[in-house]
Symmetry: C2
Subunit: 238 residues, 2 copies
């Protein structure tokens, strides 16, 4: 956005004397709900149903909520966009670089933080866990989150992010951020099933997804399995 030009001397004067303190200021954090799907190693490729949706958490080292788990995130600094703040914080707290992310929601509860009024602009990220290198952060199965001591309203943030992720699965191509470049249709279907928490009919799934995929011409060659076609995502943006 280009720099604002006052229209006249009077407005220049107005801006020079403007007291920013006349409206309350609020501290702003960005917090990332980072989803990944754990994948089994080649040795137990038959146990597809053991895969699960996970979320990346960090353990807090300071008050408040010291030793509680929280989403990776931090305060937005002067002159920083949310996206810049997010990427800086993620790299610091989890080692992740250039994670794909999109804004989820801004949480505005008045008493979210005991230190002061803090609003949280939350982002959803999706990762292919095989590519992502993580440090100082842990992947926690979604079902386990409710059993952990979670900081702030982050359990609620995660629940809202799961709802959004499930919705977006139906009407966007967001899922391909979690996929390797090449995959079989049943691998893709199993990712859908893990996120949605329900089994899908293979024929119907194939029909709805087909126009998003491109056949690589290759076939899988896992011993003990019938070979399957290998596809890639056809969309330009991913």
């Amino acid at each position: 956005m280009e720099r604002y030009q006052p229209c006249c001397k009077e407005e220049e004067e107005f801006l020079r004397n403007y007291n920013p303190g006349q409206f309350p200021s609020i501290a702003v954090t960005v917090d990332a709900v980072i989803f990944g799907i754990s994948r089994d190693s080649a040795e137990n490729y038959r146990k597809l149903d053991k895969q699960s949706l996970k979320v990346l958490l960090v353990k807090r080292t300071d008050y408040p909520y010291k030793d509680y788990y929280s989403l990776p995130g931090g305060f937005v600094l002067e002159g920083e966009t949310f996206e810049e703040s997010l990427q800086r914080t993620l790299e610091n707290k989890t080692g992740l670089k250039n994670a794909y992310s999109e804004q989820l929601y801004t949480f505005d509860g008045v008493h979210r933080d005991p230190r002061m009024r803090v609003i949280s602009c939350s982002y959803i990220s999706l990762l292919d866990t095989r590519k992502a290198r993580i440090k100082d952060a842990v992947w926690v199965e979604l079902e386990e989150v409710s059993k952990l001591a979670m900081a702030f309203d982050h359990s609620f943030l995660i629940a809202e992010a799961v709802k959004r992720l499930r919705g977006k699965l139906q009407y966007t191509d967001i899922v391909f951020h979690m996929m390797p470049e090449e995959f079989t249709i049943s691998e893709l279907q199993s990712v859908y099933e893990i996120i949605l928490g329900e089994k899908l009919l293979a024929a119907a799934f194939r029909r709805t997804i087909a126009n998003k995929l491109e056949d690589t011409g290759k076939m899988t060659s896992n011993a003990g399995h019938r070979p399957s076609r290998i596809f890639r995502y056809k969309g330009r943006e991913c």
Copy 2:
């Protein structure tokens, strides 16, 4: 959210001595992109194609951007949730009460406002223009917005809101907020067409929308028109 309880004396001490000024504070506004569809009066009911998507704007009376058009909105006050702030501001600036709204996006540009850093949490509202009583605000046709002098990044906010509205039309029941309680399928189709900016095939539209509607058993009786069935929205939430 329940009030936070420090775990120990040490944390009590930490919170008592916490300096909220160590992280930058940012002023926060809520801004509403309020959509309505102008409807023709009974006299010219044949001119369905003259309906248009409109957005509700107010004229700024103060610097900066004095005399420019802007979305109705205002600063979030101490102890106020975004929704409370939105309803207060809308009532003050447009006379609207209890408008349905949902969060669109938080705009975080560093130089959005020449006074100070201000982020805007924007909301989408949809109104049945026949029910809404408006004061001090004007309905502007979407196509006319680009010809107006618009304050801040509000043209951009409106463009983003239109994209979201078009998307949500496809996978949610949001449209019914713009409809009267009872309507014909062709009235509903024309609202879809106005928002999407394209003609739809009547048979296909009827098929996709049918399961959301309930037949009232009544028929229209406009002179010069074949009577049409009158429906209402079947969903509980609207």
